[in-house]
Symmetry: C2
Subunit: 238 residues, 2 copies
């Protein structure tokens, strides 16, 4: 079984929330749009042709019998199907809840640089973005990171959730922190020491053999000024 | 087993996504903040006191052994625990995907009247909201509603998903449409005939005996200018 994975090529975006655990757990997948000649057109055509699969957007994971969309929903499937994370239903629900929290902050990050509409260019809503970024840096980053830090500190284990092995919660936190440090380098440098445990989790996650190899490969796209996490210096401050 | 349900009192907000199926299926619950003297303070105190339950926000459902947050995650639990919706894992994943789509449009609706930050009053970001609302009305409402309409039309059944009985997908679509018609009466009146199936589902759902009783009761809060769905006439147009 080799999954078909669909996401915009050349930008990590929400795609790396899925690629990280696929790579870390060495779950075979084809990155369909990356392997296409014009990957952006391929995604659009695929969503159109597969309207019957009812994905509103990418990321999208196809198993042969199922088309699974929504980042948190895909990760829930991967955890269950590949034995990552908690083995009981309540634990899995709790992990799903955290993935939904991470989806929420991800959406808020995107809204920082596109506060008015995704239909306008960044440059046409920059003044609003500057105001939005200030509140996001002051209020939302600390509120979310304190939340995840509390969760990580609620037990003695090495990972976000109790237990001996990593789950998609760890790969998601690691990726989220990476994105926040890229987008808000000054603010995150000022805050980092307030959230030591999740930063340790990030280090441990990035040290996972196959995730490390993925991140070093040219399959892993760099952050830039496309997608969710973008570095516009005017949106950052300590 | 009587669930403890926590949500801001006096506004339907995201709370009614949960109350609707609880009421329609006659699942016993205590609406803790509604029954409190100062419900807003009670919610804030409860989240603070129960930090160990790790809910980032309300809505929150407590079962005695579990504290479950995130609307889609709570609904997944209710479907599974109370035998609503599909009985197989793939069907339940699909329903969860749709609930995540509904969570996304709900978040976008809120961002229409608070585009820059929830930290500012509506009045202080009204110009941005007017621009945001225009794009939302033109592009996002039709994109989302066409998506749900396609899903409903993909089979012959009476409900959003294939099968003989309603699920939280139906109560969520019904509530979402209700909110959109309240917030954008002109735009939704112009669009309604393009999406007949989901509007029929809304009618059938609202005719469910106990949901009908709930909506007629004083337990069901009216929409207003608090919460997610707000009617500001300047944000609407056909
Ligand atoms: N909550 C969804 C969001 C999906 C999403 O917004 N995907 C983006 C790409 S990262 C997209 O293509 N959106 C198209 C749209 O929203 O119209 C998820 O986590 O999967
Ligand atoms: N995606 C979450 C959103 C939860 C949410 O934003 N809740 C609002 C009330 S409707 C809140 O109190 N948010 C506090 C915050 O975001 O800081 C869900 O669907 O449950």
């Amino acid at each position: 079984m080799v999954y078909d994975f669909w996401y915009w090529p050349t930008l990590p975006g929400r795609g790396d929330f899925i690629r990280y655990p696929l790579e870390a757990a060495q779950i075979p997948y084809t990155d369909c749009a990356r392997d296409a000649e014009d990957g952006f057109a391929a995604v659009a055509e695929h969503l159109e042709a597969k309207q019957g699969c009812h994905a509103f957007a990418v990321p999208l994971l196809e198993t042969g019998s199922e088309s699974i969309a929504q980042t948190a929903n895909i990760l829930l499937f991967l955890n269950q199907e590949h034995g990552l994370g908690p083995s009981d239903a309540a634990g899995m629900r709790y992990l799903n809840q955290l993935q939904c929290d991470i989806a929420d902050i991800t959406e808020e990050v995107h809204a920082v640089h596109h506060p008015i509409s995704t239909a306008f260019y960044y440059e046409d809503q920059r003044d609003a973005a500057i105001q939005s970024a200030e509140k996001f840096r002051e209020q939302r980053i600390p509120k979310y990171l304190a939340h995840f830090e509390r969760i990580a500190n609620a037990h003695d284990g090495d990972w976000l959730l109790e237990g001996d092995s990593w789950s998609t919660g760890d790969t998601s936190i690691a990726y989220l922190l990476d994105g926040l440090h890229f987008m808000f380098p000054l603010r995150m440098a000022a805050l980092q020491s307030d959230y030591p445990t999740i930063h340790q989790i990030q280090q441990k996650t990035f040290a996972l053999e196959y995730l490390d190899a993925y991140r070093a490969s040219d399959r892993c796209a760099a952050f830039g000024t496309e997608g969710i996490f973008r570095n516009y210096p005017e949106l950052d401050a300590a």
